[in-house]
């Protein structure tokens, strides 16, 4: 079958494989993680989203529309690219990239955004709001809003507005209003606070198009399901390319959407090791990092029980990363659950290691990755050396690096 004939998405692709008890229970819990810790005022809206999503994911018409957009607008299925010259630096293990950087708008975020934008229409809402760190989720949301004729407001930390200035300009060009958030650390965490404040005020006509697998139920489930296509495709493609499943899957972890997106279809394949890479910033000892799963403790942030960077009294500790998209002191509850169950392992990659992998992929393969994705690339280099030349590693190249040229120019004195 040619790719234009076969639907790339089925209800089963969206719904998950049901193995490993990976789906949240009725209260949105993954084990002890997840749930809802939000003002009562938002409960009806969250319930409405959950109910409408349940209907949508079993509705042929919705699936057809989503599939159509993924194919004809986002550019799915995305290809795999094997990168031997890069892999030579990883002890000769085979490294294969899942090219989410080639999607329209340049990152995996578009998958979730298109799904939720269609959901917004079903909810009868005319306005979307979103938080953004790297600006990729904001750009994707502004794009979908333009496509579907929705009003769009994006909250972005003032620090991130500066380091991802190109994306701010893109969002504005797409017709969105970008609100720089000057509270707290002025990064993703504060943008999420501000988006929640907007939502509770304007919930009648507004959908909060949440950008990662964190937040209150049902966001961790919905965002995961809309990102699942990454792993569903990659699993099929890996078998086509190599005749078998990869030994390991590597992905960067900010809130966790690209990682869960590629992990999820492999959760039932127990021989496939799942590795998430968080931002170690200037290193664990420096205290300037975003090692939520590696060094955080269990608490509540942004409506969900999960690992959090916090002090002994539950005050959130500000994170640090050279990459805006990973600069977040929380993480999605399903990752917390995957960590505690031992099914996935999480590690840190420093700013310097990520930037080295960023430059290496550019020079050896002619691909400029997002700095977020470079954390997964750096992880794959380490993993390759560990697993040896027989190993095959699938890496989620979650986005492209155009938005990061300002940071790269400074870092490398270009």
């Amino acid at each position: 079958m040619s790719p234009t004939e076969a639907p790339i998405l089925t209800a089963a692709d969206l719904a998950g494989n049901g193995v490993y008890g990976d789906d949240p229970d009725g209260h949105g819990k993954f084990g002890v993680f997840g749930g809802r810790f939000v003002p009562e005022a938002l409960i009806p809206a969250l319930d409405q989203v959950a109910v409408e999503y349940e209907k949508a994911k079993n509705d042929e018409e919705f699936l057809r529309e989503f599939d159509h957009l993924l194919r004809t607008y986002a550019g799915r299925p995305t290809t795999l690219t094997e990168v031997p010259r890069f892999a030579a630096h990883a002890g000769g293990a085979r490294i294969v990239l899942k090219r989410e950087d080639l999607t329209h708008t340049g990152a995996h975020k578009i998958n979730n955004v298109l799904g939720q934008a269609l959901l917004t229409r079903r909810l009868g809402k005319t306005r979307v709001i979103a938080e953004t760190g790297a600006g990729q989720h904001g750009v994707a949301t502004a794009t979908a809003a333009a496509l579907l004729g929705l009003e769009c407001v994006i909250y972005m930390g003032a620090v991130d507005c500066e380091r991802q200035a190109l994306n701010v300009a893109r969002m504005k060009l797409l017709g969105a209003t970008v609100v720089p958030v000057t509270n707290g650390s002025q990064t993703l965490k504060d943008a999420i606070n501000e988006a929640f404040r907007d939502w509770v005020t304007n919930v009648d006509r507004t959908h909060y198009l949440f950008g990662t697998v964190a937040g209150p139920h049902p966001f961790p489930e919905i965002v995961r399901d809309f990102a699942r296509i990454i792993g569903v495709e990659a699993r099929r493609q890996m078998i086509e390319l190599t005749g078998r499943l990869p030994d390991a899957v590597a992905a960067a972890v900010g809130g966790g959407s690209n990682a869960i997106g590629i992990f999820h279809a492999f959760i039932g394949d127990e021989e496939v090791r799942l590795h998430g890479y968080e931002a170690a910033g200037r290193g664990l000892e420096s205290g300037e990092h975003a090692l939520t799963l590696t060094a955080g403790t269990i608490g509540v942030l942004h409506g969900s029980r999960t690992y959090v960077l916090q002090d002994d009294e539950g005050q959130t500790i500000e994170s640090h990363s050279i990459s805006a998209g990973l600069d977040y002191p929380g993480v999605g509850p399903e990752h917390a659950w995957l960590k505690d169950s031992g099914r996935a392992t999480y590690h840190g990659v420093t700013d310097d290691e990520a930037m080295e992998a960023f430059a290496l992929l550019a020079r050896t393969e002619g691909i400029i990755p997002a700095i977020e994705s470079s954390h997964a690339l750096a992880g794959a280099l380490k993993l390759g050396r560990e697993l040896g030349p027989e190993a095959t590693i699938l890496v989620n190249l979650s986005g492209r690096g155009d938005k990061d040229m300002g940071t790269a120019m400074k870092y490398f004195n270009l």
Partner: protein, 264 residues
Amino acid sequence: MTTLQTVFSKARAENRAALVGYLPAGFPTKEGAVAAATAMVEAGCDVIEIGLPYSDPLMDGPTIQDAVHRSLTNGTRIADVMRTVEGVAKSGAATLVMTYWNPIDQYGAGRFARDLANAGGVGTITPDLTPEESGTWLQESKDAGIDTVFLVAPSSTEDRIGKVAKICTGFVYAASLMGVTGARESVGSAAEGLVGRTRRHTSLPVCVGLGVGTGKQAAEVAAYADGVIVGSAFIRRLLDAPDEASGLASVRELAAELAAGVRR
């Protein structure tokens, strides 16, 4: 120690609504918060909510965010919150703590409830703790003998109001509008209907908060609610005052205006 029950029976006997004032601990300073709350009580507040400053107050508008940020910058810890409660309770007001859930969770629910009771606190208001997640907290609060107040909102369905009202003791907090904390030109028109809907599920007092800031608004709300809750307007007075003494005078003046309002 003055309980919520005493406060509401007294107000009812006087045929008026109770006046509830909010201030975060550690704002404008650790001692300044006790002084300001005491002034509010002296001028007519029946109940004081001491806010536990939290780094990510996603239900609060700019005024409370600003105050909380200053408090955290001052180094306010939970021990300071307990000391503030202790100081304020001496003024004779029923004193509660209003807090997001994570600080209680990290401190330890049992320890928090006991320390609060020992400090003379009578209960908590937990705006982001939903009935589904409240089991532990209800048990620990009951064991420590403190009240548990939760919020209903204009968007709440009958089913949700029922669930929330069932786990409240002391009173039910009705949010007057869909939005974050902060004084408004007018109190939401949804408030009266929400109070009415809530009464169908409980015989507890129902207090209205969010957006109230003047004596006139207090009088409006007092016509249908058992209590009027004011926070941002007090904080605004403290933020705008050139020095501590004039700040105190200003909150005293506002409390008196509001106290007259609930008696109109």
